[in-house]
C-alpha cells in the first residue's frame, strides 16, 4: 500500500501532498519537512530507495523517490509494494503529466494543483494502484475536464440569456 505521495521542489516547498493514511495537519507538514530533509541529502548516483523517517513509520516503510530537474517525486510505501515497480509508476505518472500539460514544468504544477490531483486520482486510489495505462488515464482526465467546461458554458449562456431578456424588457418599457 502506498502511504503518501509527495512532490516538492529543491527548497522543500510542497507542490502536491496526498496522504492515504490519517495524520493530523501538523504531522503532515512535519512529514513533508522530514522527507525533504532525508531526500535532499542523497547524492545523485545513489540508489533511489531509503528507509522512511520516524514520523511516517520508520524502517517498515520505504521512501522511493525520483529527482527531475527542480522537483522531487516521493512515494512512501510499505513492504507489500515492489520497489522497482513503484519506480516505474513514478515514471508513468510524470510522463502522463507531461502529455496533459505539454512539456510540464514546475509552474504548471503550481498553478494547476487541482488538475494534478485529478490525474493522480485516476492512477492511485486509496493507496493502491488503479490504472497504469497512460492513454486511458489521459482520456478519463480529459473527459472530466470536458464535463466541467460544458457546465461552465451552460452557466455563461444562461447568464447571457438572462441579461439579454433583461435588456429586451427594458427596451419594451422604454418603447412603451
Amino acid at each position: 500500500m502506498i502511504k503518501a505521495i509527495l512532490i516538492f521542489n529543491n527548497h522543500g516547498k510542497p507542490r502536491l501532498s496526498k496522504f492515504y493514511e490519517h495524520y493530523t495537519e501538523d504531522t503532515e507538514q512535519q512529514i513533508i519537512r522530514e522527507t525533504f530533509h532525508l531526500v535532499s541529502k542523497r547524492d545523485e548516483n545513489i540508489c533511489n530507495f531509503l528507509e522512511g523517517g520516524l514520523l511516517i513509520g520508520g524502517s517498515e516503510n520505504k521512501l522511493i523517490y525520483r529527482h527531475y530537474a527542480t522537483l522531487y517525486f516521493v512515494f512512501c510505501v510499505d513492504s507489500s509494494e515492489s520497489e522497482l515497480g513503484i519506480l516505474d509508476l513514478i515514471q508513468v505518472f510524470v510522463e502522463t503529466l507531461d502529455k496533459c500539460f505539454e512539456n510540464v514544468c514546475e509552474l504548471d504544477l503550481i498553478f494547476h494543483m487541482d488538475k494534478v490531483h485529478n490525474i493522480l486520482a485516476e492512477m492511485v486510489m486509496g493507496g493502491m494502484v488503479l490504472e497504469t495505462n497512460m492513454s486511458e488515464i489521459i482520456t478519463q482526465a480529459e473527459a472530466h475536464n470536458k464535463m466541467e467546461k460544458s457546465e461552465s458554458e451552460e452557466q455563461v449562456s444562461v447568464g447571457f440569456l438572462a441579461s439579454a431578456l433583461d435588456r429586451k424588457q427594458r427596451r419594451c418599457i422604454v418603447s412603451v
Binding site: 510542497p14 502536491l16 501532498s17 496526498k18 492515504y20 490519517h22 495537519e25 507538514q29 547524492d43 548516483n45 545513489i46 540508489c47 533511489n48 530507495f49 531509503l50 515492489s82 520497489e83 522497482l84 515497480g85 519506480l87 516505474d88 509508476l89 508513468v92 503550481i110 498553478f111 494543483m113 487541482d114 490531483h117 485529478n118 486520482a121 486510489m125 486509496g126 493507496g127 493502491m128 494502484v129 488503479l130 490504472e131 497504469t132 495505462n133 492513454s135 486511458e136 478519463q140 473527459a143 472530466h144 464535463m147 466541467e148 457546465e151 461552465s152
Partner: protein
C-alpha cells in the same frame, strides 16, 4: 461584496511574497474573505473559495473551517462543484471528524448517479477515506458496481472493495460471488485491480486462499498471453507488455503457491519462462525478474528453478544500476538462511559491494557477509571485513565490530588468529565496541593459556601508541596486571620479545590513572592492575605509594579500592600473595561472568578477609525453567547460608540451538509481593546459535517469609530479524532454595 479572486490570482499573489511573514499576512487576509463569503452562503463562488482553501492547506495553514463547505459542494448538482467537494473531502476530512458521516447519504446517491464520472468520484472518495460505518452502509452499492459491465467503474469498485474489506473484514464474504468472473475481463485496468482484490482477500483469510487456489491455471494463462503477445502499443512500457500487471500476477501466484505442492507444480513452467525470456536492459524487465525470483523462493519450487533464481540475483549484483544491486542484496539476505550454498557462490561479488559508495548498499552487503561467514572462508572474509571496519562510517562500526567478534568466536581457526583479530578490532574501532565485549575478551584471553605472553606483549605495545580507546585500555590494563611478570621477563615465543622494565610498565599504568582520557571504570581497572603487580614485581615501595595516594581520591570507587589495598599491605600482608595470584580458567557456563569478578575485586576481598563468616554454598540444583523450540533457559539456584540466610542466588543460563542468533536478548523477572528481586547485569545480550555459547545472568531474591519461590519471566529478543516476546512462569525451584 466583490467577487472572490480566482485561485490563479491567489497563487500569483502569494508567490510575490518575499518573506514568510508577508505570505502569512496575505493568507490570513484571504482566509478572512473566504470565511465571510462562506457565511453569506454564496453558491456560485463556493467552489472557487474551497479550491483556494485547499491550496492554502497544502502550504500548511489551517483549513478546517472549510469542511462543511465541502459537504455542501458534494450535495450540489453541478459536476464542477462535486469534483472540488470530493477532493476537499479527501484532503480535509477523515474519520476522526463527526462531520464525515453526513457525507454518507450524498455518496449513496452519487453511487447511483446516471453519469459514470460522478459515480467514479464517489467510489474514489469512499475508497480513500471511508470509515467503517460508512463502509458498512455502502458496501452493498459497491458490490453492485463490481458486477457492472462498465470497465471504468468496475476497476474503481474493485479497489473500493479492498478498502471496505480492510476497514470491515467481516464483509469479505459479501464480495465473493462478484469475483467469479473478474479474471475473464479483457480490460487491463480491471484485471489489475481484480488481482489486487484477490490478493487482499487471500492475505486476510486462509479459507479464501484455498478457495482461490483453483484460479492458478487462469492466472498462468493470462501471464502467458502477456509475455507471448508481442507488441501492443497501449500497454507497452519500454518494450514490455504491461509490466505492472505481470508483477501483480506474480505476487498473487506467490501467495497462492506458498506451501501448496499442486499450485507450485502448475506454476513452475511459466516462472522458468518469465525468468529466461524477460529482457534485462531496462528497469521494467528487472522489476519483473525481481518479482519472479521472490516468487520462486517462496513457493515449493524444484531445486533447478531455485538455482536459476539465485543466479539471476547474482547477475543483478553485477549490474551498474545501484537500485538493482540494492534490491538483489535485500533478497539474498532473505534467502541466505534457506539456500546457503547457492548464495555462497556469489560471495566474492557480495564482498566487493562492501566497497560501494552507497550507504544503503554497504549496510546490506555487511549483513549478508556476516551471514555467509563459515569455517572455510573465515580467514579471507575476516581480512575483507577488517578492511571494511577501517574505512566505514561510524554508524556501522558498532554493528560491524560485534559481528566480527561473533564470527571470530564461532569459527576461529587458531587461538593466535583469534587474539590477533580482536586486537585489530580494538585498535581500529575500539571506542565503538559494545560494553559486554570487554569481559568476554578477558575471559577468552584467560582461557588461552599458552598465548598469555604474546597477548600481554601486543596489548602493551598498543597501549604505548594510544590510550584513548577505553575498551582496549581496560583489557590491556587487566592483562598487564595478570601477566606483567611474563612481559618483563621477555618470555614471548610467538614474536620477538620486547625489553621492558618494571618501572616502564608502572609508568604506563600510572599514566592511565592520571590521564584525562580515562573513564572512572578504566581508572579502577588500572589501580587493580597495579595492585596485582605487587606480587609479581619487586618494586613494592612504588606500588605502595601509588595505592596510598589514591586512598584520598575524590572518586569513591577508587578511594574504596585504594583503602582496601592499603589494608592488604598493612594488616593482611600474609594473605596478599594468595589473593592476588593468577586468575583460574573461567568456564562460561558455571560462573557469573568475568565482569563481576573483575569489578568487585574489592568486595570479594573484604568478605574473604572477614574470616568469621565463611560462605557456604550448597549443591547447586539446576533445572530447565523455560523451553521453547530451540531456546532454553536453565536456572541454577545457589543458596548462601551467610551472610544473609534469606537470600537465594539464582543463575540463569540461556542457550539457543536454532540456526540463527538471538540478539538484543533481555531477561526480565517478576516475583510475588513478599519477595524482593535484584537482577545483576547479564554476561551479554546475544545468545549465539547452535548452542555455541550462552548468556548468564544472576538474580538475587530476598525471601524473608520463607515462602515457595515462584517467578514470572519475560524474554524479549530479536530472532531472524523479527522481534519476539515470550512470557512464562517458573515454579519448579528446589525446596532448599527457599527453605
Amino acid at each position: 461584496m466583490p467577487a472572490p479572486i480566482r485561485l490563479r490570482e491567489l497563487i500569483r499573489t502569494i508567490r510575490t511574497a518575499r518573506t514568510q511573514a508577508e505570505e502569512r499576512e496575505m493568507i490570513q487576509k484571504e482566509c478572512a474573505a473566504i470565511r465571510s463569503s462562506f457565511r453569506e452562503e454564496d453558491n456560485t463562488y463556493r467552489c472557487r473559495n474551497v479550491a483556494k482553501l485547499l491550496y492554502m492547506h497544502m502550504l500548511g495553514y489551517p483549513a478546517h473551517f472549510g469542511q462543511l463547505e465541502c459537504l455542501k459542494l458534494i450535495a450540489s448538482q453541478k459536476f464542477t462543484d462535486k469534483r472540488i467537494g470530493y477532493l476537499g473531502a479527501m484532503l480535509l476530512l477523515d474519520e476522526r471528524q463527526d462531520v464525515h458521516l453526513l457525507m454518507t447519504n450524498c455518496i449513496k446517491n452519487d453511487l447511483n448517479h446516471s453519469t459514470q464520472y460522478v459515480q467514479g468520484l464517489a467510489l474514489c472518495t469512499l475508497g480513500c477515506m471511508g470509515s467503517s460505518e460508512m463502509c458498512r452502509d455502502l458496501a452493498g452499492e459497491v458490490e453492485k458496481l463490481l458486477k457492472t459491465s462498465n470497465s471504468y467503474l468496475r476497476k474503481k469498485a474493485a479497489l473500493c472493495a479492498v478498502h471496505v474489506i480492510r476497514k470491515v473484514p467481516e464483509l469479505m464474504e459479501m464480495f465473493l460471488p462478484a469475483t467469479k468472473n473478474l479474471l475473464s475481463e479483457k480490460n487491463h485496468g480491471v484485471l489489475h485491480t481484480s488481482v489486487v482484490l484477490l490478493t487482499e482477500m487471500c492475505e486476510r483469510s486462509p479459507d479464501m486462499l484455498s478457495h482461490f487456489r483453483k484460479l492458478v491455471p487462469q492466472l498462468v494463462r493470462i501471464l502467458k498471453n502477456l509475455i507471448m503477445s508481442g507488441y501492443s502499443p497501449e500497454h507497452d512500457v519500454s518494450g514490455i507488455s504491461d509490466p505492472f500487471l505481470q508483477v501483480r500476477i506474480l505476487r498473487l501466484l506467490r501467495i497462492l503457491g506458498k506451501g501448496d505442492d499442486d499450485s507450485s507444480e502448475a506454476m513452475n513452467d511459466i516462472l522458468a519462462q518469465v525468468a529466461t525470456n524477460t529482457e534485462t536492459s531496462k528497469n521494467v524487465g528487472n522489476a519483473i525478474l525481481y518479482e519472479t525470483v521472490l516468487t520462486i523462493m517462496d513457493i515449493k519450487s524444484e531445486s533447478g528453478l531455485r538455482v536459476l533464481a539465485i543466479n539471476i540475483l547474482g547477475r543483478f549484483l553485477l549490474n551498474n544500476d545501484k537500485n538493482i544491486r540494492y534490491v538483489a542484496l535485500t533478497s539474498l539476505l532473505k534467502t541466505v538462511q534457506t539456500d546457503h550454498n547457492a548464495v555462497q557462490r556469489h560471495r566474492s561479488t557480495i564482498v566487493d559491494c562492501l566497497k560501494d559508495l552507497d550507504v544503503s548498499i554497504k549496510r546490506r552487503a555487511m549483513e549478508l557477509s556476516f551471514a555467509l561467514v563459515n569455517g572455510n572462508n573465515i580467514r579471507g572474509m575476516m581480512k575483507e571485513l577488517l578492511y571494511f571496519l577501517d574505512s566505514c562510517d561510524p554508524d556501522f562500526k558498532a554493528d560491524c565490530a560485534s559481528g566480527i567478534f561473533l564470527a571470530a568466536e564461532k569459527y576461529a581457526p587458531s587461538k593466535r588468529w583469534h587474539i590477533d583479530t580482536i586486537m585489530r578490532v580494538l585498535t581500529t574501532a575500539g571506542s565503538y565496541v559494545r560494553d559486554d565485549s570487554v569481559p568476554n575478551l578477558i575471559q577468552l584471553i584467560t582461557n588461552s593459556v599458552e598465548m598469555h605472553a604474546y597477548t600481554v606483549q601486543r596489548l602493551y605495545k598498543a597501549l604505548l601508541d594510544d590510550i584513548s580507546q577505553q575498551p582496549l585500555v581496560q583489557v590491556a590494563s587487566w592483562c598487564i596486571g595478570e601477566y606483567g611478570d611474563l612481559l618483563v621477563s621477555g618470555q614471548c615465543e610467538e614474536e620477538e620479545p620486547i625489553q621492558v622494565s618494571e618501572d616502564e610498565v608502572l609508568d604506563v599504568l600510572e599514566g592511565l590513572l592520571v590521564s584525562n582520557l580515562s573513564t572512572p571504570v578504566t581508572r579502577g581497572y588500572s589501580l587493580t592492575a597495579i595492585m596485582k603487580l605487587s606480587t609479581r614485581f619487586s618494586s613494592l615501595n612504588r606500588i605502595k605509594k601509588v595505592v596510598s595516594i589514591y586512598g584520598s581520591s575524590i572518586d569513591v570507587e577508587l578511594q574504596q579500592r585504594a583503602v582496601e589495598y592499603n589494608a592488604l599491605f598493612k594488616k593482611y600482608d600474609h594473605m596478599r600473595p594468595a589473593l592476588l595470584e593468577r586468575m583460574p580458567i573461567m568456564e562460561k557456563t558455571a560462573t557469573n561472568g568475568p565482569s563481576e569478578t573483575v569489578q568487585t575485586n574489592g568486595e570479594t576481598d573484604s568478605t574473604i578477609l572477614d574470616t568469621k563468616h565463611l560462605p557456604s554454598i550448597s549443591q547447586p540444583a539446576s533445572q530447565v525453567g523455560f523451553l521453547k523450540h530451540g531456546f532454553s533457559i536453565q536456572t541454577c539456584a545457589h543458596f548462601r547460608s551467610n551472610p544473609n540466610p534469606n537470600i537465594a542466588v539464582i543463575t540463569i543460563h540461556a542457550t539457543n540451538s536454532t540456526e540463527a542468533d538471538m540478539t538484543e536478548f533481555v531477561f526480565q523477572a517478576a516475583v510475588p509481593k513478599t519477595f524482593q528481586l535484584q537482577l545483576l547485569s547479564p554476561s551479554s545480550n546475544v545468545v549465539p546459535a547452535f548452542n555455541q555459547g550462552s548468556v548468564t545472568q544472576v538474580i538475587r531474591v530476598l525471601n524473608p517469609q520463607k515462602q515457595q519461590l515462584r517467578m514470572r519471566i519475560k524474554l524479549t529478543y530479536t530472532h531472524k530479524g523479527s522481534p519476539v516476546q515470550d512470557l512464562a512462569e517458573v515454579n519448579n525451584f528446589p525446596p532448599q532454595s527457599w527453605q
